[in-house]
């Protein structure tokens, strides 16, 4: 029952009066309207725009958000209205749906935004009215294609190490850009296709005379050379075909595909020729077979996208082409008949039969006009001119359709290519955003710990270290922090794979460098490190970092062993080591972070240094190698600097 006629339900029920007197049995009881409220206006405030409607209008569709009690969740007690923080433009369409029973799709609206809104209000898009349904479906299809394109190219670019050899080979065949070997193969086959085609062509060119015999085509003069060339090409093609057959994920489907048929047809004549004897009867047929060698040129379609698009266009325009052919055939038969009978009277007429006139008609209608058959009578000339005029029209009509189809497909392809090219930039943007947020978290965490530590040390004036995050940010960070606590892990660099890569000291240094940069930037009170995320990596002290950076060797800090241990287990705690010093004024300490490596470091740094270190849990000895006298396992080298400052190490666990 359409919603629009819901208002007529009382009428329909009243109309049942006609059944009562004829009924033989008693009627069932009517449903009681328990809370028979008077119909009231309700106010729907959508992002500030107020819509008002009757309550019963909304209750027409009880399985949507507005028609059910779900809207009570959005009721604002203070203003006595229902507030939705959504797009008011789309809401207009939604409300009209309740009012009229028809859902419309506005053309200017983005399809995914519209879908989202419909999903929010619990309305199925299938009920869009006929007037707008086609447009909606078209847009939805385009969007789906775009998404599929994205997914495809994504899949193509993913490096899945788990591909089998066969799969890698197939991928190499299908996308030559995946590896250099594939690219080489691609060009080699292309080259040989060209060679083969040129050979076939040159074979037939007359090559000059051998003394004592008539002019021969090159093919017969240098038959051995051409035979060798042909053999080489066919061998390459055969190898290629067999490789593709081996690599194909579904061999049956591959065998049936167009390209493989072309491949087979291209190489078959050669093998048949080998097998064939020089029998006179079959050599004629064999010569015909050689024609098929020209199909090798179609193998180029693997190499050229334009050719593929052309083929696809012709396939998709099959109906228009069919129409063109059919109308042409009709016209040809008509005009040929007319011309035949018109020219029948004239002597020595070339129009000997109607099929013979077909040739004239075709030549005339396509405006070729060879002139080998010309009408001589007046009637013939009149009809001949009509024929040529109509030929122009008949051919010109379906051609634009084909052209527009081709153009559409071609542009679609171009758009897809453009999207793929922009995809890199897009992904980079997304990644920056993601790392940005994780950066923010780690940043704030460090600052939070910093603040805690500073409080411990009683330096109230530095409590405002770091930027103050918004409430949402801080809540988000708190959430991530809770997760860390729950799992006992903690966040690292943005690339999760980085930490599981093989342990090389290089990584550690890389991280150290980052940390160094990070800290330097922090210390210079920049708001935000724009480089990669600060990883709470092993970073005992900036001074030592400076050292390590400069030297690039593993002057390790007891923590620097951590990559190795860290890799063994991913569990880490993060701590902040605050090394107290005589003058706990952080400003100076901050500036000390800028000290160059060749400063005397320790002795000059009479300031507290904030260091963060990652300690791997499995190392059973004390969690902080730094400052501990016990050497951490696999410590590459002692750090002589550290112990000197070890006196006032205060370990503040971040967890």
């Amino acid at each position: 029952m359409a919603a629009g006629v819901a208002a007529w339900l009382p009428f329909a029920r009243a109309a049942a009066i006609g059944w009562m007197p004829v009924a033989n049995c008693p009627m069932p009881l009517a449903p009681a309207d328990k809370n028979k409220r008077q119909d009231e206006l309700i106010v729907l405030n959508v992002s500030g725009r107020r819509f008002q409607t009757w309550r019963t209008t909304l209750e027409r569709y009880p399985d949507t958000l507005l028609g059910s009690t779900e809207k009570e969740f959005f009721f604002n007690e203070d203003t006595k209205e229902y507030f939705f923080d959504r797009d008011p433009e789309v809401f207009r369409c939604v409300l009209n749906f309740y009012r009229t029973g028809k859902l419309h799709y506005p053309r200017y609206e983005c399809i995914s935004a519209y879908d989202d809104e419909l999903a929010f209000y619990g309305i199925l898009p299938e009920i869009i009215g006929d007037c707008c349904y086609e447009e909606y479906k078209d847009r939805k299809r385009e969007n789906a294609e775009r998404l599929m394109d994205d997914n495809d190219s994504e899949n193509n670019q993913e490096s899945m190490p788990s591909l089998s050899f066969r799969q890698t080979m197939w991928r190499a065949f299908e996308n030559p850009h995946t590896s250099t070997l594939a690219l080489v193969f691609y060009y080699v086959t292309g080259f040989f296709i060209a060679v083969s085609v040129i050979t076939n062509v040159v074979e037939t060119v007359p090559c000059g005379t051998v003394p004592g015999s008539k002019e021969l085509p090159c093919g017969e003069r240098y038959s051995v050379a051409f035979f060798c060339l042909d053999t080489a090409c066919v061998m390459i093609f055969t190898v290629e075909y067999l490789l593709r057959l081996f690599a194909a994920p579904s061999r049956y489907r591959f065998i049936r595909s167009v390209m493989s048929i072309i491949d087979v047809v291209a190489i078959m004549p050669y093998y048949i020729g080998l097998v064939m004897t020089n029998n006179e009867d079959v050599s004629g047929a064999f010569v015909t077979l050689r024609v098929f060698r020209v199909f090798r040129i179609f193998k180029f379609s693997r190499h050229s996208q334009g050719l593929r698009i052309l083929g696809y266009t012709l396939k998709s325009c099959a109906s228009e082409l069919g129409f063109l052919l059919f109308s042409l055939t009709m016209a040809i038969i008509i005009f040929a008949t007319v011309m035949f009978y018109a020219e029948k009277g004239s002597s020595a007429s070339k129009f000997t039969s109607i099929p013979a006139s077909f040739w004239y008609t075709i030549v005339t209608m396509t405006t070729l006009g060879y002139g080998d058959m010309v009408p001589k009578t007046i009637a013939g000339k009149i009809f001949g001119s009509i024929c040529s005029l109509s030929g122009v029209l008949v051919i010109a009509l379906p051609v634009p359709v084909i052209v527009s189809n081709f153009s559409r497909i071609y542009h679609q392809n171009q758009r897809a290519d453009k999207r793929r090219a922009q995809k890199k930039a897009r992904l980079a943007r997304i990644r920056v955003a993601k790392t940005g947020s994780s950066n923010a978290y780690l940043h704030s965490k460090r600052n939070g710990l910093l603040n805690e530590a500073l409080e411990l040390m009683g330096t109230p004036e530095e409590e405002h270290m770091g930027k103050t995050a918004s409430l949402i940010e801080s809540q988000h960070h708190h959430l991530l922090h809770c997760l860390e606590k729950t799992t006992g892990l903690s966040y690292l660099v943005d690339d999760p794979l980085l930490s599981v890569r093989t342990s090389t000291i290089k990584n550690h240094e890389f991280i150290d460098e980052q940390m160094f940069e990070q800290n330097c930037m922090e210390s210079s009170m920049q708001n935000y490190p724009s480089t990669r995320s600060p990883s709470l990596s092993s970073h005992p002290g900036l001074t030592t970092t400076c050292c390590s950076r400069r030297s690039k060797k593993t002057t390790h800090l007891p923590n620097s062993n951590l990559p190795a241990t860290r890799l063994r287990s991913m569990q880490e705690l993060s701590t902040i080591h605050i090394q107290g010093s005589e003058q706990p004024s952080l400003t100076t300490s901050r500036s000390s972070l800028n000290l160059k490596a060749d400063d005397g470091l320790r002795p000059n740094c009479k300031t507290s240094q904030i260091t963060t270190a990652i300690i791997s849990i499995p190392t059973p000895p004390a969690l902080t190698p730094e400052g501990e006298s016990r050497p951490p396992p696999a410590s590459p080298g002692p750090n002589t600097n550290i112990p000197s400052i070890a006196s006032n190490v205060v370990k503040v666990s971040a967890l």
Binding site: M1, V5, P10, A14, G18, V22, P26, L29
Partner: protein, 220 residues
């Protein structure tokens, strides 16, 4: 939405001024006629004429106007609206009978006043009023008595509304048998027709009918 008379006058004018365009004729017609708009009498007058309250009239009018923006319902529209309540069967015949019952002045269209007047009787009238209205519905040619043929038409239209897929399946002779039992109950003097007095008297004696008539009290 065409009234019968307007259609004729329109076709005359079409021939006269030569603006009759075969291809776009129908579209132009629609534009011309859609300007017809009927407004009901004022709310107070309707309140006096019917037994509905002001609010009820408002609700009724809003629903009425929603389906019929031009203010009047013609038979086609009426049938279409009514069929939406009975998707399975064919309610067009019964809807025609209803239309004729509502269209008291027989001008081929039901205005809001007719609509509300009929509803007022059915929903707010006395039992006798309702029975009278029902009799009026059955009396297809409005001659004061119901013949067996009229009753058969009515019965068939009611059974049509059920549609084909019923359990037990509809038998051919079911309407006729039903008519027979109806006449047996209602036709006192066995003269083959049922007059209004016989009808009301018989209905008042039947408890089921009396009880079902009271169902209409709470419809709106």
């Amino acid at each position: 939405m065409r009234g019968q008379s307007r259609k004729e006058s329109l076709s005359d004018s079409r021939d006269l001024d030569g603006s009759y365009d075969q291809l776009t004729d129908s579209v132009e017609d629609e534009f011309e006629l859609s300007t017809v708009c009927h407004r009901p009498e004022g709310l107070e007058q309707l309140q006096e004429q019917t037994k509905f309250t002001r609010k009820e009239l408002q609700v009724l009018y809003r629903g009425f106007k929603n389906e019929c923006p031009s203010g009047i319902v013609n038979e086609e529209n009426f049938k279409q609206i009514y069929s939406q309540f009975f998707p399975q069967g064919d309610s067009s015949t019964y809807a025609t009978f209803l239309f004729n019952a509502f269209d008291t002045n027989h001008d081929g269209s039901v205005s809001f006043e007719d609509f509300v007047a009929g509803l007022s009787v059915i929903l707010r009238g006395t039992i006798d009023d309702r029975l009278n209205w029902a009799f009026n519905l059955y009396d297809l040619n409005k001659d004061g008595c119901i013949t067996k043929e009229e009753m058969l038409d009515i019965m068939k239209s009611i059974y049509d509304m059920m549609g084909k897929y019923t359990y037990p399946a509809l038998r051919e002779e079911a309407p006729r048998e039903h008519v027979e039992s109806f006449f047996q109950k209602m036709d006192r003097n066995k003269d083959g027709v049922v007059t209004v007095e016989e009808f009301i008297e018989s209905c008042q004696k039947d408890e089921n009918i009396m009880r079902s008539m009271q169902l209409f009290d709470n419809v709106i």
